[in-house]
């Protein structure tokens, strides 16, 4: 049996082999294949042999395609409208939970985090009933709030047609995305806050700094790396938004394509319009956008050179 034993020299290769095999076949090969495909014209119904090289045609097609630009704009709008409020709410919320909650903290954090782990399809289906125009709970709630003085004036005067009005669809999607991910960010910021030494706050209190001053001069600078990380995750996540708009618009993108994100448009190009080449080209263009935006957030939050 001795000669069958793995030597420590070969052991890592043997241990990694199953993972690497799958990683190559299902992780790396698809990427290379999709790059290859983006230079081909191909209709899946006519078999693999019907593929032929078309150079940059797919990319040119994508860049001239009105719906591609529209889907990019939709995606950007949604990423901003759902991403920014997440952080604007999660940062103060986390710092308040950090200072003001002891016994109930885990329960409260758990409640905020729960949407993150539940099925986005089930959630989107539920929300499509909550957003229904005549009987949906959200419109009923708005109707109640409209009776409140001052606040009522800010609200829309009629029941909102959330799912069919192109102007209302995007806010509806953003609300779901915000609801789903805000708790995740709260947890990130809580973890960052726990690394700030308490004596910093004590010293600041002794020097007469108020709570707000402490927030802006101690808390915010200390969690800056986490803000970078959280915003990067929101950018990457927001730009691949698929399930919520897909379910809310029945897989079509909504009236006037208002809910058609880039990922939904990719899917439609491939599986509704059978244009796999154009869809692959678009996925690479979109990838460039994601990479560029990640790089920009990286630059914006990098510690400044002194």
């Amino acid at each position: 049996m001795k000669h069958l034993r793995l030597s420590p020299r070969w052991a890592p290769y043997a241990l990694l082999a199953p993972f690497l095999l799958l990683f190559l076949v299902f992780g790396l090969f698809p990427l290379a294949f999709s790059l290859y495909l983006s230079f081909q014209s191909w209709e899946p119904t006519s078999g693999l042999a019907a593929m032929h090289y078309v150079g940059l045609d797919n990319f040119a097609f994508a860049l001239r395609d009105e719906w591609f630009w529209k889907s990019l704009a939709n995606t950007g709008w949604l990423a901003l409208a759902s991403g920014l409020p997440q952080h604007l709410v999660a940062i103060p919320l986390a710092s308040f939970l950090h200072l003001g909650f002891k016994r109930w903290r885990n329960a409260v954090v758990g409640a905020y985090f729960l949407p993150y782990i539940t099925s986005s399809v089930a959630i989107a289906i539920l929300f499509s009933s909550l957003f229904s125009t005549d009987y949906g709970l959200i419109n009923l709630l708005l109707a109640l709030l409209r009776e409140v003085p001052l606040l009522g004036a800010l609200l829309p005067a009629q029941a909102v047609d959330w799912l069919n009005d192109p102007d209302a669809l995007k806010p509806a999607i953003s609300m779901i995305v915000f609801w789903r991910y805000v708790g995740f960010n709260v947890v990130l910021y809580l973890a960052a806050l726990q690394t700030i030494p308490p004596d910093l706050y004590e010293a600041a209190t002794m020097d007469g700094a108020g709570r707000l001053q402490q927030f802006f001069h101690i808390t915010l600078p200390s969690i800056r790396p986490m803000i970078f990380f959280g915003v990067t995750l929101s950018v990457i996540g927001g730009l691949q938004l698929f399930e919520e708009p897909f379910i809310l618009t029945g897989g079509k993108g909504g009236s006037d394509q208002a809910g058609m994100t880039a990922a939904v448009y990719l899917y439609r190009n491939a599986f509704d319009f059978n244009d796999f080449g154009a869809a692959s080209a678009m996925s690479w263009l979109l990838f460039l956008v994601v990479a560029l935006l990640t790089w920009l957030t990286n630059r914006a939050f990098r510690p400044r050179a002194r």
């Binding site: 890592p12 993972f19 959630i123």
Partner: protein, 269 residues
């Protein structure tokens, strides 16, 4: 801002976070016409059995639930096995191209999920895996996140000396993995297992692309197929959604700490 006002806001926020779940379960017990009436139901009704009957008439619902469970369990077991082996190799051994390989694996974690949608459909088509559950759980086992989590944990929880000592005593390499590393990895395996199962349970894009016949649908796909522009059976749809959501809520209540720390581990480290 006065502290009490802040407490009220946090409380209100907690309600907003939980309310949709409450209404999902309430609606699951009402008929379509009750859900869409004024005022809508605020408390549980008695139409659950009826909704389930519609659900099982329109869909092979229990079969769909079974596929979700089967794919979830298979994908969890495979991921745990392959990622613990790989993570251990990355953490404890020196070999050629280790750094570059690890960077490559981690790099794919940042890739947007839509990049894989089209080519993985084509690969599954070529392999003849369309409508096969293995098209869902085998690719999932090459999890970059799993490798990351396992390597992190091996590095922090398993002393190098222990592995060396076992090697000196004549334990084989696979024996070290199976008898020393795996038992010590239990907490991390639990976390990764939970996360993998939940991700597989919720997976929508994967089955959307490869599952064609309703008999092979997993839950999210089955639920979405009930949606139609004209006569959606909302009560049944809510009952199905509630069934898809309930196991996750139970898992979360039981292991919220483990889940939260596991899902944010990349950020905290």
């Amino acid at each position: 801002m006065a502290p009490w006002a802040a407490y009220c806001l946090v409380g209100l926020g907690t309600l907003i976070m939980l309310a949709p779940f409450y209404f999902m379960f309430v609606f699951a017990t009402h008929s379509r016409s009750e859900i869409f009436s004024l005022p809508p139901p605020m408390w549980f009704g008695d139409d659950l059995a009826n909704n389930l009957a519609i659900l099982t008439k329109r869909l092979p619902f229990w079969r769909n639930l079974g596929w979700s469970l089967y794919v979830g369990i298979a994908s969890t077991l495979l991921t745990l096995l392959f990622c613990s082996m790989g993570g251990y190799a990355f953490a404890m051994f020196e070999f050629r191209f280790k750094k570059a390989l690890f960077a490559l694996v981690m790099g794919t974690m940042l890739l947007p999920s839509f990049m894989n949608m089209i080519p993985s459909f084509m690969i599954m088509d070529l392999l003849g895996w369309i409508d096969q559950p293995r098209a869902l759980y085998i690719p999932g086992a090459a999890s970059a996140f799993g490798i990351f989590l396992m390597r992190q944990f091996v590095g922090s929880a398993i002393p190098r000396e222990l592995v060396e000592a076992a090697r000196m005593d004549g334990c084989s390499e696979l024996g070290i993995y199976a008898r020393i590393v795996l038992p010590l990895l239990k907490p991390a395996l639990g976390t990764l297992g939970l996360i993998t199962f939940i991700a597989s349970w919720n997976n929508f894009i994967g089955p959307l692309v490869v599952m064609r016949s309703p008999d092979m649908y997993t839950l999210p796909l089955a639920l979405r197929s009930l949606q139609s522009p004209v006569d959606t059976e909302w009560g049944a749809l809510m009952a199905g959604s509630a069934i898809a959501t309930l196991p996750l809520i139970v898992l979360f209540v039981l292991c919220s700490k483990q889940l939260i720390s596991g899902l944010t581990v990349g950020a905290v480290k």
